[in-house]
Point group: C2
Chain length 397, copies 2
């Protein structure tokens, strides 16, 4: 199908069509000489933040200031080299955008890049940028990191300012970064994270047996060597993470998130009747129904799951699982297959969303024909720095 509004400016279709975006950073600092991209949800002073949808852009005024996260990277000497494509209003896990085009996955060009921070991942994997800002509410940093073979982290909920960006589901939304190597990722996060660091040593690795079991054989096979490496570094034990079953957790996560973004977008949709791809419009239509419901039982469930996992991690254990249970799907799959892929991905990415815990995706797996497969570590609240250090240690080791 034609996409009349698409006009890719770069080799990977990673940046939003239109005039190039470039903001020079401070003359010196820990990121001097580095280029970064920012997802089209982050404010850049003087420009309209488009959020992946032309009707959002047309109904919003230019930003008066940079988003906090953008400002922090600029202040550290990095230069903003592009505004990266997002799934429409950040709703999506596969990286398709019917208005701006779907970025190319530089590591697997026939497959989807993952979303919603699709352009950020494509820009870093395609070496258009060294770092890229994304957001992760239900998996939007972790999934494209895994699909594009990058380091990417969802931080502890609340540890990075969301000021100056389009938020969708306040109790789920986080700001995340992508990089090709873990030391630069850690430097970037050190400029964004608040000071509540808790760098206890990791005493044990809990391997979530049920998370591996629901993953495709290709994912399990690709991750086997990396898991063996981890077991050589940390004492490890296999556990069953979810008594109720990960699909049940995912369903609760999805409903709670729908409830929140149903509220977030309701007034705007009512005023403007915006255009969306069918996939996103359907998601918003269902969310509008959920937004009217009383989800107190789901909230109690969420608190219970969080308490259980916190007990298991106990400030000294990490959880190990595949980032996604599937390989990146082919670019041309029908909507029904996209919906099924999204449902399955949420069975794993929903865990950190539901609990607010930090999760890093490590590009340590690969299929026989070179398709990247991410391995994830989930830490206790505030263990972001621990996860980043672990990533560096694994790379060095």
């Amino acid at each position: 199908m034609n996409h009349p509004l698409r006009a890719s400016q770069d080799a990977f279709g990673a940046f939003v069509p239109g005039a190039p975006v470039h903001v020079t950073g401070a003359a010196s600092g820990p990121l001097a000489g580095r280029g970064f991209a920012a997802k089209d949800l982050f404010d850049i002073a003087g420009l309209v933040t488009g959020c992946g949808n032309p009707d959002w852009a047309a109904s919003h005024a230019p930003a008066v200031a940079h988003a906090d996260a953008v400002q922090a990277l600029l202040d550290a000497g990095a230069t903003l080299v592009g505004r990266s494509i997002t799934d429409e209003i950040s709703l999506g896990l596969l990286g398709r955008n019917q208005f701006h085009g779907t970025p190319v996955n530089p590591r697997a060009p026939e497959r989807l890049p993952g979303g919603s921070s699709s352009g950020s991942a494509a820009a870093v994997a395609g070496r258009l940028a060294d770092l890229a800002l994304g957001t992760d509410s239900g998996g939007s940093v972790r999934v494209p990191a895994s699909f594009c073979g990058l380091y990417g982290m969802r931080p502890t909920h609340g540890r990075i300012s969301v000021r100056g960006l389009m938020t969708q589901s306040p109790s789920f939304d986080t700001v995340g970064l992508f990089a090709r190597e873990p030391t630069l990722l850690a430097t970037g996060y050190s400029l964004l994270l608040d000071d509540k660091s808790a760098t206890a040593p990791v005493e044990q690795l809990l391997i979530a047996w049920d998370a591996f079991a629901i993953s495709d054989a290709a994912v399990q096979d690709a991750l086997r060597p990396a898991v063996a490496r981890l077991k050589a570094v940390f004492p490890a034990t296999e556990i069953t993470l979810s008594e109720e079953g990960l699909p049940i957790w995912a369903e609760r996560q999805r409903r709670l998130q729908q409830h929140e973004f149903g509220h977030t977008f309701r007034a705007w949709i009512d005023a403007y009747n915006p255009r969306f791809s069918f996939e996103v419009g359907r998601s918003l239509a269902m969310a509008a129904l959920v937004a009217e419901e009383d989800l107190s039982a789901e909230r109690a469930f969420r608190a219970d799951v969080r308490a259980k996992i916190l007990g298991r991690l106990d400030g000294r254990r990490l959880l190990c699982l595949p980032t996604t249970p599937i390989l990146p799907p082919a670019r041309g799959i029908p909507l029904s297959a996209m919906a099924e892929a999204g449902r399955r991905i949420t069975e794993l990415t929903g865990i950190a969303g539901l609990t607010g815990l930090p999760q890093i995706s490590l590009p340590l797996g690969e299929t026989g024909d070179g398709i990247p497969v991410g391995l994830s570590l989930i830490g206790w609240p505030g263990a972001d720095e621990v996860l980043l250090k672990t990533a560096q240690a694994l790379q060095a080791g």
Copy 2:
């Protein structure tokens, strides 16, 4: 909001943006010298039928032949002067299109033109064309006829060929015409209708009390003189049309229609994930759910309603009711108000949809400040010519 694809070519924004469409008709015939417009659902040989949605256009091939209805008017000497805007894939009753723009209602420029045959009505009311082809599944000819002050008829279901046009709900879809005066409308229909005419005399007028009662006071007031005129021409009696209540009938009609268009569009949506306004995307998302249900109870209900009304009309009585229970809404109303307006309109337009009966909307009412209000007559199966003759007699009288 900007509509980047909109580029009106005419004073009323009635025609689809793009290259002008013009097909000269036969040298002579009953419509020689007349210009007509065709809704963007009707095939025109060599062109892609866009159906009000750019992703429909991008995913379909050019038509190889004119639609039967277009060919019939061309053969009668009329010239096709434009392709008129439709609500996206014909789903809508108010005439808004977020891709092609919303045509202006020439009789009430601050108000909506009605839909889905919005551009056809605007073209005729704005004197860009003498006649215009539309379609009517749930009210899409009758509503814009009423809102724009035109004669417009939904024919008996099945009496006009739908070959060469995008159909949505086969057991509801009909082809209709608009005109500014009833004699030309009758000439046009004489070229389209099959030969099953049943021109019995009208013995009585049944005034649907409940249809007037649920209409706004402004509609009731505007129609009072016209109803008095009708009562002077025909013996009349007031009846309560629906024991169950017209809202119940409308709900059944809506579910049956959703069931059908849910099936119609399913494969295309799954393959292309097209872009829609939220209003239309939501409608399609809900329809996809209904398409999976067993509606045998609703079908039995429909047969029962039809049998009851046929008994009352008995091949010699006409039913009189407002075309819509509301005035044309203001152009800028929010989506929630649009949904409510659509729901209320269907309480009256759903009657003919549910029963397959012919209904003509007569531009015989007007508010104090000149807003058109249509009065409708519903006839028995095949009474299309009777309705057209009645319209001419009333105009003459």
